[in-house]
Symmetry: C2
Subunit: 410 residues, 2 copies
């Protein structure tokens, strides 16, 4: 294998395309299957056709551009990609960077004398963000068989539209069955959407796994009483109990050596009056850990603590699971390859965990998959201020290029 590569991508072409695609849609907003999404898809398909790729659309609207060589048609392809739909008021890098870099890698390889021993394809999955239609990562979920395409097409959006009808309307209800291409490997290049690489000044993240996610809604019921006339020892304060859970979760996260993250993002007290002890506190817990067993331990620890608290604070506690995804481990060989080619380019890298969900998570169920991260300045994402330095964007694309040349070389 060759980890030192002198081939360069066309920096200007990549950066211009990111800018051009990011300019589509009001404030960069391209919700899945909207008019703006159609405009973005049309632009992408146009670039694919200019590169002579075979463009295929599957029934859930995933867009593929496949570069077949003369002698590799029967081989499983290397698939590169991500998504080009966005959240509301999005940045221009989330998703688009991975798709356009995949395309750029193909353009670059076409312009060199490289002869890949298997097809190289780029994909833009439908509705990764899940803003207009639930669930998120829908295109890749359907593609790997985790949700039936017929059920997915019936999804009713937040604007009461039906996804299948909207895909028809914008001309992206394809005919290929999801799963029609069985990749040899799937590699997704993405901005980190977190602060780690930026804070450490490291340009490349070799993403080795993706956190499992457990969301719970916890409701605590105590007793509303007068804030002045109720002695402390007679209180059944639901708000205090909630505060104890929040601090306990931080204690667990601290003890986990950065394995577990725990967030209480929402809270409500009732009756919510200055001089009344809260009778009710409702809040959510977002627990994440890259290891299934550890995540289960955290869930169990929380359950145990709630039981203790119920006794010590004399409150009733109910918890409901809202979301549960198991952690995903990426392909060790590809992760190692990412590190090796980064090193070959003189780019420092670290192994890391993805804290957010990505299409690559779904793809692990049908092929070896991995992700490459580049820094997000201040960790900002899902925001027009989302930014990655041009040099980092180029470094990431080079690492992707080198991984592909290694996987598709002799």
């Amino acid at each position: 294998m060759e980890f030192t590569n002198k081939v360069s991508i066309n920096t200007e072409r990549l950066l211009n395309r990111i800018k051009e695609l990011g300019g589509i849609g009001m404030k960069g907003t391209r919700l899945a299957a909207s008019d703006a999404d159609k405009e973005g898809r049309d632009k992408l398909v146009n670039w694919m056709r200019e590169a002579g790729l075979d463009v295929e659309i599957d029934r859930i609207g995933n867009v593929f551009g496949i570069w077949y060589g003369t002698k590799n048609k029967n081989e499983a392809p290397i698939l590169l990609g991500s998504h080009i739909d966005t959240v509301i008021n999005a940045g221009r890098y989330d998703g688009c960077y991975g798709v356009l870099s995949g395309l750029e890698v193909i353009n670059t390889l076409q312009e060199t004398s490289f002869v890949p021993n298997r097809p190289i394809a780029v994909v833009a999955f439908t509705n990764e963000e899940g803003v207009r239609y639930q669930p998120d990562m829908m295109g890749s979920l359907v593609y790997v068989g985790g949700l039936s395409v017929d059920d997915a097409l019936k999804t009713v959006g937040t604007d009461n539209t039906i996804l299948g009808q909207e895909l028809e309307r914008i001309g992206y209800a394809g005919t290929k069955e999801p799963g029609f291409l069985k990749p040899h490997a799937y590699i997704e290049l993405h901005i980190e959407q977190g602060p780690i690489l930026d804070k450490m000044g490291i340009p490349i993240g070799a993403v080795e796994n993706l956190q499992g996610i457990s969301w719970q809604r916890i409701t605590i019921e105590g007793s509303a009483n007068h804030a002045g006339t109720t002695p402390t020892h007679m209180r059944r304060d639901a708000g205090l109990a909630a505060a104890r859970v929040i601090t306990k979760l931080r204690e667990r996260a601290n003890a986990s050596c950065e394995r577990t993250v725990a967030t209480v993002g929402t809270i409500e007290f009732k009756p919510n009056a200055v001089n009344v002890i809260p009778s009710n506190a409702t809040f959510t817990v977002d627990l994440r850990n890259p290891n299934e067993q550890e995540l289960q331990e955290e869930e169990q620890e929380l359950a145990n603590y709630l039981k203790e608290l119920s006794a010590s604070e004399e409150v009733y506690i109910k918890s409901e699971q809202l979301v549960r995804f198991s952690p995903v481990t990426f392909d060790k060989t590809i992760v190692k390859l990412v590190e090796q080619v980064a090193s070959g380019r003189g780019l420092p890298s670290i192994r890391m965990t993805s804290g957010a969900g990505h299409d690559a998570e779904m793809m692990t169920s049908i092929c070896p998959a991995a992700m490459i991260f580049v820094p997000s300045i201040d960790g900002i994402s899902h925001n027009p201020k989302e930014c990655t330095k041009d040099t980092d964007l180029v470094s990431g694309a080079h690492v992707l290029l080198d991984v592909v040349m290694n996987l598709a070389g002799k």
Copy 2:
């Protein structure tokens, strides 16, 4: 002095009047200067006139019924009372019990051969609850000179009415200047509105002081970030900081041996999303302690803790004072007398602190004052379920009677 008394009040008359007054107003609601309040006042004045009392109304609408003896006109009166306005969906005891017991004491003394050496009067102060017009305890506040009567009469209510006009309309804009009677002592009999006497099974509380109250609104600003991609050590979690304040306040309350009570009754997170670390947490703190120095210490401890927290959690913290009342100490001689006469009746009593505000708090600035509490079942008040057992209502009235006979006897 004589602490053993055989004179009995007319139990049936007292209980019937409580029931009758409590039945006025939709769901027992008699907001200050409303039609229902007029109906309640008319009934009270009627009972006062039946007892031959001199009825006087002052400019803020406080209603006095004064029993002058033939030889005591020049003496300062013993004033008994409370208020008959209510919160919305009120119970029937809060306030009314003190006024009607005061009247009952006068009725009883008239029916015995008791000759008081000073006038005995009963008062119903205007707008103690402060629901329709702010501030609360307005009638007694104006009476002692804490707020000018002219300013008070201009108060605009939550329904955009003006208090002065409403008092005119219901016929209770009197002509006496507030403060026209300078009492020898003021004694207020009241339900506890808290659980202590009920839980302990003690019928009489000799209220020796009234908690100081400090309300603050605290705003914590951290940084909103992704719940999955932001490592624990890089978080600036405003919600966690708020939770730490709540648990710290409980720690202080526990360490105070039931001197301090602390309540966080309201809270709000922003942006309040499951998977976003809160950038902002706003909550209120209700701190109470019966000693001014101790209350100041609690405020200072909280300020110190917020400073520490600001550094340790890397958050900005702002606190605003919303309400501040100093603690009040009642007259030691009268408090002791309450204990003595209770004992004379074979009624167990304890010294206690009032956690809620009362008109007696205002009266301490112009005369010796004290309060007598009777149990509230389960501590419930400001609620139609508010309840005190008939035997406890009678016991409280007997203690009030005996205190008056001691203060107005030879």
